[in-house]
Structure formats: C-alpha cells, structure tokens
Amino acid sequence: MLDVAIRKPDGSTAVDWQHVGVRTAPPLPVAPALHTILPDGLRRGSTVSVAGSMSLLLALLGAASADGAWAALVGFPRISAEAAREYGIDLARLALVPDPGLVQGGWTTAVGALLDAVDIVAARPPRGRGVVPGDVRRLAARARSKDAVLMPYVLDPAGWPGADVRLQAVGGEWTGIGAGTGRLRARRVEVTAGGRGPAARSRSASLWLPAPGGGIDEATPLAPVIDLAG
C-alpha cells in the first residue's frame, strides 16, 4: 500500500493516501445535502445499497452524473426522465436496461458487463428469485476491480449482504397538499446510513426529497424562537 502523503510547502497535508485508501481514483461527488451522510462522496469500488425511495437513488446519481460520470439503471421498469433531470442527472449519460431477465442469468451478466465501463450501476435484483450469494460476491469484486460503484436497490436494508454503505429512506411527510387543496410540493424524509469499515458509524439526515421545485435539499429545522427582550 502506498504510504505517502502529498504535502503543501508549509508542511500541511494536502492529500493523504491513508485517508483516501488504496484507491487512487477520487470518489464520485454527491449533492451537498448528502454530505452529512456521505462525507466522502461515493467511494469508487464500493457497494452502496439503497432502500426505501427511488428518489433517493436518483438523487445519489445526480451530482456524479452532472460531473461527467456514466450511470446505468438495471431492472427498473420505468423511471421518469423529468425527475431524473430534476436531480441533476445528465440524460445523455444515463442508460436503462429495464428487463434484463429475459435471458437466463441476464441480470448478473448485464450488471457485470456494465460495471466494466459505467461509473455507477444501480440495479434492482429480479423479483422473487433474488441474487445468489456467489453472484453478490462476484459483482462486488467486479465493482472493486473496475473502480465502479455498485448500487443495489433493495426493499429491505439488509437485503444485500456485504454492502459497504447501506442507505435507507424512512418516513415521508408531504407538504403543500391538503384535503382537496394545494398540490404535492416537497417531502421530508429521514435518510440513515450504516455499513462496514469507515461507514460503520451510523449517520442520519433530514432531507427534502424532492425539494420544492424538484431536486434534493437539506431540511433545516425551524429556527428557535429567541427572546430579544432578555
């Protein structure tokens, strides 16, 4: 392992390979609102499982895609191009493989082939059968060796064994809509992150997903009332 840090003229550390890890490729960026739960962005070569919300998945792809990364969605029937664009995804660099299961073993083959060259591969395991543990290991190893990010979309946060980071969106409180009045404007969700290694400490954040007008934003609690007289 490379044990060198790049230092600035004044002696302070500019880039510490220890911190970055053995991977030399920089991590993929994430939206600023996700910095509390993913402080280092999406580490290349890792497996990040997502549960609970399709919007969370699109939001995770957004900043990286806008930065030039390629993304592929495998096994998702139909996502909205409009929503994808609201989260910042560049549609020219997004590929969809809606139904890879037509061929025997098609899902694993497609995900494996895409991991070779696409930066982020989000995949929903085929309904019913699931993915056999051997394939789970093989795909994780493929992602690691190709510096890609494998992003399984699972119903249950523990549904993908061996994920480096597990993200889950819980709850969902819509604003702007009443009993026959208004319209859907924004949703407040709690996103929790857990996992292995550096991600073992669980983090959580309250997010607008989608934020008013689309996209993702941090949900700040209302400002406390300050007693000016005192």
């Binding site: 399709m54 998702f76 997004l94 930066d119 969902g172 026959g180």
Partner: protein
C-alpha cells in the same frame, strides 16, 4: 526547396446532383405527381421541399404549420432514409456503367473521376452524352431533375453540379471565388464559418487569398481543410493517402443474413472497431469502400464519401443504405449476405487527442458506449434504452425511451409551455401500462366524477391494484384533462388527482368522467 502548392491540379470530376432528393423519394413512395408541392418534415421542421413548394414560399427550417399556411395544398411527407438510398441506386448504376469507382456522398449526390471515361468516349462531351443517355427516362427518378457538373476537385464539382455548370480545366478557383463563405457548410452549424464571417471574410475567394500557413496557425486542421476547398485545390485527392490494409475490417456472417437491420446490427461491432482503430492512430476516415458478399458469390462494392469524418453511426448508416439498395434492387443477390468488409480509402489526421488524468471524459465515454453496445448484443437491440425528455402534458408522455444508439430526439419540443402539465416535482416512477386503482369514498363506493369535473364525495380510501384499501391522508385535485376533443379516436376526458395515503406514499391517479368511474395509477412519487 520550395514547394509550389499550385501546380498539383486536382483531378477532374463529374458530379451528379438530384435536388431535393428526400422530397423526390417521399413523393414517389407516396405516388404523387411531380408538380405537387411537397415537403419532407422531421421533428416538425421542413428538411426539404419541392420546387413548386418553394415557389409558394416554403423554405427549409420552417415549422410544419407555417409551411402549410404558406402553401395550403402542400403534401407533408415523412422522411425515409433507407428509401432514399434504395431509389438512388439506379442513378448510381447508370454512373457505374460509365466509369467504376462511383463515390456517393449521400443519396442524391454522387461523383466519378472524369479522366478514364474522357479517353474512352472521346472528350467530355462524349461522357456527358453517355451519361444523359444512361439517366434519361430512369423510372426511379419519376420526372425529377438531375443536374450534372464538371470541375477540378470534388468540392468544386459538387458546387458546379448544384448550378448545372461545366467549369473549364483550371477554372475552379475563379469559379469558387465569388461564392459566399457559407457554401462550405450549408447547414450553418460550423463555428469556423461563423468566425470567418465575423472576421469580415464573406466569400470563398477572400478566404482562399489568406496564406495557407497562417490559416493553419490560426484555425487548425479544420481551417486548412476548408481553406483547400475554398481555393479549389482538392482537399481529398483521389490518389491521396491510401491507408495500410490493416485498417480494413471484415465481418463474416454465419449463417448468411437476408435482412438489412440484422446485418446492420451485427455490423455495429466492426463499425466501432473501424473507427477506433483509425482513431488510435490519430486518423479519421473521409472515404470508405463498403463491400458485401452474398453466400452465392454476388458482390456489391460502393464508395461512400463524407463531407466530414465518418463516425460509427455514419458508417452504420452507409451499411444500411447500401444493403437496402442491394437487397431490394434489380440486381438483388440470390442468397443472404455472408460477408461485409469496410475498407478505408482516404484518411485524414484528426486533432491530437490526449487522455485526461484518471481516464478523462473522452476515453470514459468511449468505454461506456462500448459496454452498453455489448449488453445490447447480449440482450437485444431494444434492451438498452436511453431516456429523452419529450414534450407533453402527462408525466408519462414527457419521458420517451429510445434504444441506445438511435438518435435521442424528442417527438415534441419539451420547451413548449404545455399548459396543463403538472408543476415540479415530477413523479419518479412511471407506470406503463397504468395500474388500476381503487379510489373509494366514505361509503366504500368508487369516487364519482361529474361531467363538469367535480367530485361530490371526497376520496377516503385508496389502494393500488387489488390490495386492501387504506385511508387517504391528503389529496389534491381534481384537475380536469380534456385532450384531443377534436378527434373522436384519441379524445381523452379524465381528471387527475394526487393522493397521499396514510403510509406517506404519494400517487398520481386519473379517473374517467362517467357514472361507472374507472381509476388508474399513472405514476408514483417514490
């Protein structure tokens, strides 16, 4: 040693140009009279129009509506590029009867070298006579015009054909001198032309007068190329750099294939290899020879010339065009296609290409595109899709999925206002086809929508499919949608609602306006 660039006169060539070829083809396919004003429209814009339509003021780039307003009897036709190639095939055959080595720029424009046939027919007049005899009364032309031009160099010959002129030997520079600078790129998309115009260079002569070395220094290889064209020195001499044989790629089809789309799909790999192999050596192809062999030994050989450099898509288009003409023409082979070979005839150096650190965008994009093409070969052409933002009022209409590799163009402009569309945020998951839903009122009966779009009883319970209904937490709507009321077949009168159930899940539902209401879920805000 001083090299005099002017002495090497470019070879003399005959160009044949059929004006408005897309219109001619579409008109013949539709069985219309030659005098009918017609226009070919793609993506709501006129891409070509017939002479009679032009006389009514129809122009390229007009919207369909505007064109129809200027000429109410205008026949609006769709574009069919494979038909264009197929109908042009007899013209190419007529040219081929005069001299081998026909170079096709695109359907409607082709050229041959003049030297050999001039000797054979005894002068250029003899060649012209033979050519006129060959093309006169070709049924495929259906009374369309065909213009012939002769000049030194292919660019000058093309311009001469557009004007139906015969330029004397050595007269090309003088002929090109007074043409506007836009002639170099009629599409108007070239940044070079824009720059030259802003620099005050408005004619080809003015551009040609600049010293070549300075043009290279200021405008790079693209500029030099244009400069050589403008000064009537052929940019692509016939005997130019013959690339070595190893850039030739061959595809063997086993078993033989008799469908154009299947061959084109299989040829995707070699087309990509062809372009990347050349690209890896800093070269790009401008003229390509495409050979195809049938299982019974028949052969078709065509040369395809491109104004710019041939990309993978361009190569595939030419494979499709040539095979379309061959497999459906008079000299159709008796067996399926068993071999396709791509031979680069002329190459030009491309700009230096440097990969960025961490495998920059260029290499990355190339790699990703290849991986996607690989998945496509594993699972089929329609299995890998790319989303396109389309125009429409429904969230479902606003997303269009096109197979990877096809042109991701919207059918309707998404930039139009589309009154009645839902404001952001958009639902993330679309259901196609929509799933039936149960929207029930307090008495567990389906919520009814009146003729005027009102809901007398609010929704209280909701379920997707045949699930057990759960309570509705909040809802918005109903918003009536009254689309295409003028057309009985496609008219749609529904109301849209947004419904949030007690679990916090939000849905976009539509309900029909009648006494037995049918509700369906169109999209989920997941």
């Amino acid at each position: 040693m001083k090299i005099d660039e002017g002495t090497a006169a470019p070879p003399r060539r005959i160009s044949v140009w059929c004006p408005d070829w897309p219109v001619t083809t579409a008109r013949i396919e539709a069985g219309l009279e030659p005098e009918t004003p017609a226009a070919v429209v793609t993506a709501n814009r006129v891409v070509a129009c017939s002479h009679s339509a032009r006389a009514h003021g129809v122009r390229r780039g007009l919207r369909r509506r505007e064109a129809q307003a200027r000429c109410p009897e205008l026949a609006v036709l769709g574009r069919d590029e494979s038909a264009e190639a197929r109908t042009f095939e007899p013209v190419v055959a007529a040219l081929e009867a005069i001299a081998p080595g026909v170079e096709i720029t695109r359907p409607g424009l082709a050229a041959i070298g003049v030297r050999g046939p001039t000797r054979y027919f005894g002068g250029e007049t003899g060649v012209l006579h033979a050519l006129s005899r060959g093309v006169a009364g070709l049924p495929a032309l259906g009374g369309a015009d065909l213009l012939i031009g002769i000049a030194d160099g292919s660019f000058a010959a093309e311009q001469a054909a557009r004007r139906g002129l015969i330029i004397d030997p050595g007269g090309s520079p003088a002929f090109l001198e007074n043409l506007p600078i836009e002639t170099l790129d009629p599409s108007g998309a070239s940044p070079l032309i824009d720059l030259l115009r802003r620099l005050g260079i408005r004619t080809l002569g003015a551009f040609a007068a600049l010293p070549g070395a300075d043009v290279l220094a200021r405008f790079g290889p693209v500029g030099v190329w244009a400069h050589r064209e403008a000064s009537g020195r052929d940019d692509r001499p016939l005997s130019a750099r013959r690339p070595p044989v190893e850039f030739t790629v061959t595809l063997d089809l086993e078993p033989a294939v008799d469908r154009v789309d299947t061959v084109a799909f299989s040829a995707r790999g070699i087309a990509e290899q062809f372009v990347t192999d050349l690209g890896a050596h800093g070269l790009a192809c401008t003229c390509l020879e495409l050979q195809a062999l049938s299982e019974n030994g028949e052969e078709t050989v065509r040369r395809w010339r491109h104004a710019g450099v041939l990309s993978t898509v361009d190569v595939l288009d030419r494979v499709r065009w040539q095979l379309e003409g061959w497999l459906s023409g008079n000299h159709r082979p008796t067996g399926g296609v068993s071999r396709v070979r791509l031979v680069p005839l002329e190459v030009v150096p491309t700009g230096t290409h440097q990969q960025a650190l961490w495998g920059g965008s260029g290499a990355e994009d190339e790699r990703a595109a290849r991986a996607l093409a690989r998945v496509q070969t594993l699972l089929g052409h329609g299995s890998v899709l790319t989303p396109v933002l389309d125009g429409g009022r429904d969230p479902g209409q606003r997303t269009r999925l096109v197979p990877w590799g096809d042109e991701p163009l919207p059918l309707h402009s998404p930039e139009q206002p589309w009154p009645g569309q839902l404001p952001a945020p958009a639902p993330s998951v679309l259901l196609d086809p929509p799933r039936p839903a149960q929207v029930l009122d307090a008495s567990r009966r389906p919520v009814r929508v009146t003729e005027r779009g009102a809901m007398p009883a609010p929704p209280e319970l909701f379920a997707m499919g045949s699930d057990t209904p759960v309570a509705v937490a909040s809802w918005a709507g109903p918003w009536p949608v009254d689309e295409r009321w003028w057309s009985p077949e496609s008219a749609r009168r529904v109301v849209r609602c947004q419904i949030v159930d007690v679990r916090g899940r939000a849905y976009l539902v539509t309900g029909s306006m009648d006494d037995t209401p049918r509700w369906q879920v169109d999209a989920i805000y997941d």
